[in-house]
Symmetry: C2
Subunit: 416 residues, 2 copies
């Protein structure tokens, strides 16, 4: 089955709010084998909502439409009116819905509902009310031609509740669309990955498409199909396995893990521990590592040595080195990595120093220059990077490179 | 002027990727007075991209169309073909574009470009190449009827670069839609804020709408209008000023700053310095503070004391306290805050300890319990929180509460 999602709300079009509902609904639909063909955001204007609905109605393959947002009690909530107009129906007052809204107010807020909430009890003729357990706005369901249309509130918590109602009405076995697990790679670029994959393409059934997705220093690879046999699906998974095996050095997960999760699993498996000393990344590496549940098993401590005093006092970087080589230097990265490894009594110590920008650059040491050192029992690796993004991008890419170095070290040294 | 944004990529429709580009572009367009009327996501399928483009072409008001994504070198990148088909044009090889791609590879990667990059040098007939300074995929510009169509890559860093090119071609003065600056508040909930604002609503011209937007522990307030006089606009801004003045204790910016930026500006103004010792937030507070350019002026150092050893060795938390009170306790938060203040020789020391979850909770100390201490010269404030989200939400809300405490302390103690 194919679906469309229409998000209503001017705030989605002015960039005030980054969409969450459509993203959430798309994930849930795909899990149920239903592929959204279009996601559309329209402003709180009747004609625009109508015109988006008309576009969706023209798409033959689409059988399920979810409209989210614009069901509130205020003047700019126009989705009810727009849906009624798009399908030439009157808005009809539903007294049971009004009772529930009144009940909600009396029960939870101890007040009578304001008069403007009454409009929430109107739904297009022929529609079926869907009651809201997390707020006042009821949703509704409408059958138009061969399409099932669900109209639900835009508040994420409420939209999530309505998904549980929509889900119940989906047919049980939907297998029109299949997306494979995402195979994630780090330390290799998109074109190079594509080049490496090419010789294997003969193994991928022609009913499957392949997708490469560069993602902040990672490349994600998956295959998908809208029309496949079970045998073809197995061949497609075999193809992915072949590719992963061939590119083992760069391949870190088929399970949807983040790089920090994958690295964490490797460390847990070998009982290893890690400490981090960061300057230009300012805590981002520690933050990413500790985003993973259970990271206290392998993450021992971190230092954010932003000032030179902190570098000297906490991690014993010698004054002379800071003077002669500067805080952003290969030597300082080495000291940071070795000191945090020693102080934390850990297996791996990461040291990061660089210039995130926009200020602080010079001719010899431009913004984006970053040294990352990784100390292990018997050696220390230092890499020099030159990133060309803004401050947040430079921090992001530096943290990514640091985690990639840990990943590669674990692969090579610890037989993972 | 009205615009439409078309994001191309199956990953946007399967919930694999949460859109960033359309969100970013919408923000930039609105800042320039151009209101996106529709944002559409279409999959990597030629017919779907064509059908979305045809829908957009029917919308008379729309004069600017930005198509983002699907320009990569791999087989699933079909935007060039789809645009050519939608407007009945041939794809033409552009040798200068190919030279640039080759140059990019040779210069930055020291290799010849893979053969599949060659397709990136094809653009629809009549199009004008737009060169990419951050990647290999060129974009292009096409005039169709009265619409300017920009087709740009989907990699966020690259899309941001192309925005700088698009921006140059926008007309200077556009004033169809006005959204006021967003007035941001922390330390007060949405309904309380709405309650406080109510008495001032009489000052807001009726041509303006008001919006309250709860956002991870902040509440954002703004007004907007599609049809207003200059006098009404001034009155609307005056209304916001009155509200901000009335709620000064909670109001942190009308300039779009993040809370960490606002706090940073306050510290710079008073020449104050800050140090952070975090356990359960794992570096997130330091990371947020150092996301701000120039934060090295007031952020001295941070500790991520994840293990008890780190708490003892780096911040002198006594063994007895850890044993008797536990690592998650008011006492430990106090030690962390005071020790980092003393070690960093800073004005303010933040100490955070808690249980981010999902593991580590107990009956007396459930997941989500967090103590935050803020030490200043003459006293120390400790607050106890109980958050009820998942791990990332608990980290996020704890960091938000910590920054809110710094904000409130600066307001009260330092006459800001």
């Amino acid at each position: 089955m194919k679906a469309a999602i229409l998000g209503v709300g001017t705030e989605l079009l002015t960039g005030l709010i980054r969409d969450y509902n459509a993203y959430f609904l798309a994930q849930r639909l795909v899990e149920r084998g239903v592929l959204p063909q279009f996601i559309i955001f329209a402003p709180d204007q009747i004609e625009k909502i109508v015109s988006a609905l008309q576009f969706i109605m023209q798409e033959e393959e689409i059988k399920l439409v979810i409209v989210s947002g614009g069901l509130g009690p205020t003047e700019d909530d126009l989705t009810r009116e727009a849906v009624a107009r798009a399908f030439n129906r009157n808005l009809v007052f539903n007294s049971e819905a009004w009772n529930k809204i009144q009940f909600f107010y009396r029960q939870l807020r101890n007040v009578e509902p304001p008069e403007n909430n009454k409009k929430q009890a109107f739904i297009p003729q022929g529609g079926e009310i869907l009651y809201n357990e997390r707020g006042t706005a009821p949703g509704f369901k409408l059958q138009v031609e061969d399409k099932n249309i669900f109209v639900i509130p835009g508040v994420p918590r409420e939209a999530e509740f309505f998904w549980s109602l929509i889900e119940k009405e989906l047919p049980q076995e939907e297998e029109n669309f299949y997306r494979s697990p995402v195979f994630k790679f780090c330390g290799i670029g998109e074109s190079n990955l594509a080049e490496e994959v090419r010789p294997f393409l003969a193994y991928l059934p022609s009913s499957f498409n392949i997708a490469f997705l560069p993602n902040y220093g990672e490349v994600w690879l998956y295959v998908y199909s809208s029309n496949y046999s079970l045998e073809q699906k197995e061949l497609a998974l075999l193809f992915l396995d072949k590719v992963a095996h061939h590119l083992d050095r760069f391949f870190f997960t088929p399970y949807g893990d983040t790089l920090e999760e994958a690295v964490g699993n490797m460390m847990k498996e070998k009982g290893l521990k890690l400490g981090v000393a960061e300057s230009c990344t300012g805590g981002l590496v520690a933050n990413r590592i500790t985003d993973v549940a259970g990271s206290s098993q392998y993450f021992e401590r971190g230092y954010v040595v932003y000032s030179n005093e902190a570098k000297k006092e906490d991690l014993e970087v010698p004054e002379e080195i800071l003077k002669e080589k500067g805080a952003v230097s290969e030597e300082v990265a080495r000291f940071l990595a070795q000191s945090v490894r020693r102080k934390g009594k850990v297996d791996l110590g990461l040291g990061i120093t660089g210039i995130a920008g926009p200020g602080g650059g010079s001719e010899g040491k431009p913004v984006g220059l970053v040294y990352i050192a990784l100390a292990s029992e018997d050696d220390i690796i230092v890499q020099k990077f030159h990133f060309s993004g803004d401050r947040l991008m430079n921090k992001r890419f530096a943290s990514q490179s640091a985690l990639t170095m840990v990943f590669q070290c674990l692969k090579e040294k610890f037989d993972l």
